[in-house]
Structures are given as structure tokens and as C-alpha cells.
């Protein structure tokens, strides 16, 4: 897709006015990752209460696509129950950002936040919930994102 299609209001708005930017004080989930190809960085903080996402924040630096996607993802998660969050997919994000047919390199920008989220859930399942079976599924999904 052309730049004119990619850099529409929605991406620029999320890039310049990031929602949920920052850190949580006592997060249940903290996950950080970076894209080795370009150096984009992202750290996500999540609080889970009553099996729901009670709060979520992120910090990071990177291109408009990666930051907008992180920002939007936090919005999409907020208040969702844990099972719904587990199911958030690549397609959900891309659709909400209005992105189709990104080249492979830019696709990685768009999916870094989802990768961080999936690995965050994975750690949470393993460490807090001692749930290895569905954790493995999530891990596989996460590693398939890049």
C-alpha cells in the first residue's frame, strides 16, 4: 500500500498523541522487546484483575507504525477479559490500523507490540498461573509473528 494510505490520520494521531504511554507502578506483567533490525524498542506493563485487563501502559521508541500499533493495542486490550486478550491477532491490529499488504520489513514494525504482548501473556501463564499447555500455544504464536 502507498504511504498516502499508510500515514493517514489514524496512524499519525496515535503516533503524536499516544494513548496509555507510560509505566504502571506494580504491574502483573512486564515485558520488553526490541526489533534487532531497526532498533525499535517497546516495554509493556499490564495489570490483571478479576481475569480482566485492569490497566495497561507502554513505553518505547520507534517509527509511527510501531508506536501507533502499540498505542492502539493498549486501547484494544483495556477492560477485556483475559481470554479475549489472549486471542488478539495480527489481523485485529492491522485492520484497526487500516494497514493492508505491508512489506515484510514494515510488517515487523506493526507487529512488535503484539509480539511483546504475547510473550508477556506467555510469561504470566507460566509464572503466575502455572499453565504450560496454553502458554506453549501463545509462545508459538508469538514467535511466528516475526
Amino acid at each position: 500500500m502507498s504511504s498516502a494510505d499508510i500515514y493517514r490520520e489514524i496512524i499519525l494521531d496515535y503516533y503524536r498523541n499516544p494513548r496509555n504511554f507510560g509505566k504502571l507502578e506494580n504491574p502483573d506483567i512486564v515485558k520488553r522487546d526490541s526489533n534487532p533490525l531497526c532498533g525499535d524498542e517497546l516495554e509493556m506493563h499490564i495489570n490483571i484483575k478479576d481475569n480482566k485487563v485492569a490497566d495497561v501502559k507502554y513505553t518505547g521508541k520507534g517509527c509511527a507504525i510501531s508506536q501507533a500499533s502499540a498505542s492502539l493495542l493498549t486501547e484494544m486490550m483495556m477492560g477485556k477479559d483475559f481470554d479475549e486478550v489472549k486471542k488478539l491477532s495480527k489481523e485485529d491490529i492491522l485492520e484497526n490500523l487500516g494497514l493492508t499488504e505491508l512489506g515484510p520489513t514494515r510488517l515487523k514494525c506493526a507487529l512488535l507490540s503484539l509480539k511483546v504482548l504475547k510473550y508477556g501473556i506467555y510469561s504470566y501463564l507460566i509464572e503466575k498461573l502455572k499453565d504450560t499447555s496454553s502458554a506453549d500455544k501463545i509462545k508459538k504464536e508469538a514467535s511466528g509473528l516475526f
Binding site: 526490541s34 534487532p36 533490525l37 531497526c38 524498542e41 512489506g103 515484510p104 520489513t105 514494515r106 516475526f146
Partner: protein, 414 residues
Amino acid sequence: MQASILNVEKIRKDFPILQRKVREDKPLVYLDNASTSQKPIQVIDAIRNYYLNQNSNIHRAVYALAEEATSSFEATRDKVAKFVNVKNREEIIFTRGTTEAINLVAYAWGRKNVEKDDIIVTTEYEHHSNIVPWQLLTKEKGAKLEYIGIDDNGELILDQLDKYLETGRVKLVTFSQMSNVLGTITDTNKIIAKCKKAGVKTLIDGAQSVPHMQVDIDNMGCDFFTFSAHKMLGPTGVGILWARKEILEEMPPFHGGGDMIREVHKYETTWNDLPYKFEAGTPNIAGVIGFATAIDYLSQLGMLSVREHESQLTKYALEQISKIDKMKIYGPTDISKRGGVISFNYADIHPHDLASIVDEDGVAIRSGHHCAQVLMERLDVAATSRASFYIYNTEQEVDVLIKALNHAKELFKI
């Protein structure tokens, strides 16, 4: 003369060099395939096409060329994985060749895992690249290097392996799946089974096997596997290291530099995911991309057919060569136990002289120690002559070799 299972006449048209004349007017009879193979025009064109249309560095940039080059480069990884039956593409690491692949294991895995008085077991018919890295490592660590001997038929004496394994100190057993001098096909399954039982890791040097027979790494059960593109229709400067993901993940990196890092800070650095962790610096991009076409070419022929063609040709060559008086041939006589490599010595003619003489008839054979001096000592010879075959060789070419050997006979008054 038997018809080959391959359409050799058609194949030969893809190899322009085979039309070449050498030593003025002699058609080239290329019988040094164990050293390096010729390349079909498809591979040559793939390299050219990369430089003409796609040339760019890979993995990092976002512009059009870089995306095209990256996807061609990574597509090769998928093709390689499929060709040798590896499920996890990230276990395929590009190196310069078998030699670098083995050294990578010796440095990155070996220096971490091998300790004083440990044992590494290799064999008497290894190529220098599967001996010297282990000499260097065992010397550094105060460990020991031991050899599985060969019998007079050129096959490994596997009882010796049992003896080493019993010590409980063996860390690695490393061996080639096919000897580049004797052509012996190693009983890989048996060795791996013994090592697995003993909890010992195995490295297979597939430099001679992958080009000439079907190889199924995932079902083999070894831990490391290496081979070179240039011996299987591919470009020079490209090789493969395969290892199990769990092992690669535990291994520290080898070369430091671009592409293998996740984040570099002044005093500490984190590593990229597999396989990139072991691929520092700009790789041989053109070579890797050309290699994909070589794999396509071999896949189209089918590795079972390649093996069948070579067996047939080797059988014919063995028959013809052994008819010559005062000829000593090395390696297994059973054709099912050997690949298309024949080493021999003719009367008191030194192999170099013999190779020079047959070269005058356009025949390219190798003479010398074939980077296997330990084997030469075992065979008690200074050198051998070696003819080795590939998909484009014919029985007629074997006949030219025989004629050339006759010239040698005359010159040396045998």
C-alpha cells in the same frame, strides 16, 4: 553400456564448461567433483540476475531492493531446510562452507562444553576440516582427540567407538557421512544410535553425502550437520551449519558484528534470534541466492536418481580401472557401501605424475592427500589419485580416463 536413469545428454547442455576444450584441443573430462562440482547455467544466471536486478544489503533496510534481496535470501533458507528435511528453518545457518561450519561448532559449542580430559572422537578417514578444529580445541582444553580406525575394506571399525564411549568422557563424536577419498558411506544410524544411548552428541560432516544422496536430517537424530554449496552445483563461499534449536540457543555466539545482535550497548550486548545470532556481517548474498537454484536443480532430478546414476557409473569405472594390471584401488568393493569416488594408485607412478599425464588428455582428476593425511598414513601411501563423478559424467568419459591411464603406462614403461 547401460542407459542412465538421468537424461545426461540434456543435463550436459546446462553446463557450458563441459563444452570447453583444455590443453589446446581436448574436450574437458571433469572428474574432480568431490573437490567442487561444476555449475549449471541456471545457477550462474541466478547470481547474475541478483547483481543485475536485486543487489542490496539484506535484513535491515526498508526500500524495495532490500526487501527483494532479503526475501530471495531467506527463501533459500527455506529451500535448504526442505531439501535436507529440516522442519525448523531457524536451525539453518549460512557459513562460508563446511570448514567454517565445523569451526563454528568447535569455537562456540566446543569451548563452552569441552573440558580437561574430555574426549572428542573422530575417524581416520576425515577431511582435515573435521580433524584440525578438534586438535585446536582439545589442545586448548587439555582434552583428548581419539580416532575410530578403518579396516582394510575402508570401513570404520565401530567396536573402537564402544571402547571410547565406555570411558564416559566422550563429549562429541564427529564423522563424515561419506569419505572424500574412499567413497565409503558411513553407517550413520549405527553410530548415532550408540552415541544417543551414551548421551553423547554427534556431528556429521555431510560435505560429500548431501550432494550425492538423499539426506534426512530431522530423522537422523544427530546434533550437528554441515555441508558446502559448491560441491552440489552451488556457488563457492556458501555452506550450511544445521544444529538443534535447543543447542543453538544454549551456544554463545561465534563472530560478533552486524545482524547477530539484538541490542548493543557500550559494555553489554544481547543476541538476535536464531539463525541470525550466528550470521554476523554481510553474508555472501549472491552466493546464497544462487544456491537456491542449485537446490531446485537437484530436486528436479531427484536425489535417488542422482545416487542411482552415480552408482551405475562407479560400478562401470571400478570394473574398467581394475582391469588394468598393477592397479591398486582403495575403499569398499560393495557398490552399495560407496559413493562415486574412486581412489587408486597405479604401479610406481606417483599420483601427481599420473594426474599431469591424464590432464594432457583433458581428464581432470585429483592427486595428493585430498586433505586427508591421517588416512594417507593409515593406508601407508604418500598420496592417491582420485576420480569422482557427478550427474553429468558418462561412461564414455570413463573410457577417456582409461585411455589416458594407458598413456601413462607407456610413458612410465610399466
